[in-house]
Symmetry: C2
Subunit: 259 residues, 2 copies
């Protein structure tokens, strides 16, 4: 008789190890395999692909709830957590890396600022099929229950079928509030940008400081874009790659530089 | 008679406002236009596309040397500096954004971890022609003089001819040490990855901590790749885009998910 080896699943996020979004993700992944969590000990939203170069890292075993997962609380960024998990904590390469579930959208250009998605991108750089999940609700008390079936379905299929080399998935789930979601759409990243506004204030010592705020401007509107799909109450999935080369512009750049 | 308006150039980096690399860049750009520097007040290497969400920002006018530039020292990340520069400090949209000159390579996947390149990518997201410059020498005392002509040439041509929408340039310059560089090559991002190694130590209180180290593994070797060009003593230029969608995988993903 051969012993069945269960899939090994590494989990992280950027909202911190105790956030409701990652607790739901852990709970769902426990039904699919052996789960190891290596997640930040504090919120790391907006950390993008930051890594800790000039400081050391803490990574301590921790127990938060009664699930079958093993958990490590880490002082670093989401990308640090993936690197630590893959190269130090785990004794074999994981079969799947999942990140999230993020409290808030990572659609359109948010993918670039997102620690949740950076962790999934780092997973694909490590050669592991990886998915970042986000729910379009920024609140700590967001209701993740209606997202569970999509998280489980998408993770199961990626675990079974794998992903193309160098590609991870950016999955965003609309806020549903009792209405059923319309299904899943494979999309591209919406063309759009944040237009920042800086709120300038004076501290009690008479010195100025700023709070960054901003508004997102959708410059796309195509029915192939992730924000369109989310507005229509579909779960959006964008395949994301870490080869940033603009292959289609190589010849243009040669001309621009007169080479 | 009409008054000639000089080009407006915004400069940042990730090594900090007082680093030799940015001082060289400022000096060169002063010959091309009106220069405004908004750069981090401390080293921000490896910060990727991180932004400051949960804290306020300081941004104070400062004078470091005798050049004609205006300078602001900022408490945030390189991407924060670009957002502050474009939306708060400058009174019109800049004609060019340049970042660097980084002390050390940003070739291959380093582009994703680099604060220098994140600033250039953010520049392109703001609709401004943007370039990140890096010299393949990590030391603070790196000799930037032989890189000057390439920085000036590439910046001049981009200022004159612009760049395609959504594209910035990742320029890496080999360490030359008296031998002339062989010229400029337009390249793609080398396929490769960092394999991390964690140096585990015990602190005086008996608790463990880690230092992240690693070795880069080139999995490419093509003469179209940036690391190949740099090894052959060419300046490498990779056009970089912020649309992370793997357009070529949209159909594959539909099949993998059984949609």
């Amino acid at each position: 008789m051969t012993k069945m080896v269960k899939p090994l699943i590494l989990i992280t996020n950027d909202d911190g190890i105790s956030s409701p979004g990652i607790r739901m993700l852990i709970n769902q992944m426990n039904s699919l395999g052996d789960v190891v969590v290596v997640a930040p000990n504090s919120p790391q939203s907006g950390m993008g692909h930051a890594i800790t170069i000039n400081d050391s890292l803490r990574c301590d075993i921790i127990s938060i709830d009664s699930g079958s997962q093993k958990e490590y609380s880490c002082s670093g960024t989401p990308v640090d957590c993936i690197k630590l998990g893959v190269h130090e904590i785990l004794d074999r390469k994981p079969d799947l890396i999942v990140s999230g579930v993020n409290h808030g959208s990572n659609a359109s250009v948010n993918v670039i600022y997102s620690g949740t998605m950076a962790a999934a991108i780092e997973g694909s750089m490590q050669g592991v099929p990886s998915i970042g999940f986000s729910l379009l609700d920024y609140s700590w008390e967001a209701d993740f229950t209606e997202a569970e079936e999509y998280v489980l379905e998408i993770a199961s299929k990626v675990l079974k079928n794998g992903l193309p080399n160098g590609i991870c998935l950016n999955v965003n789930i609309p806020k549903m509030s009792n209405k059923k979601c319309n299904g899943i759409k494979i999309c591209r990243q919406t063309i759009g940008k944040w237009i920042e506004d800086f709120d300038k204030r004076i501290d009690p010592n008479g010195k100025s400081y700023y709070w960054m705020t901003g508004a997102f401007k959708d410059q796309d509107g195509s029915d192939q874009s992730d924000i369109w799909a989310l507005n229509e109450k579909y779960v959006s999935i964008v395949p994301v790659k870490f080869d940033l080369t603009a292959h289609e512009s190589l010849i243009d750049i040669t001309k621009i530089l007169g080479l």
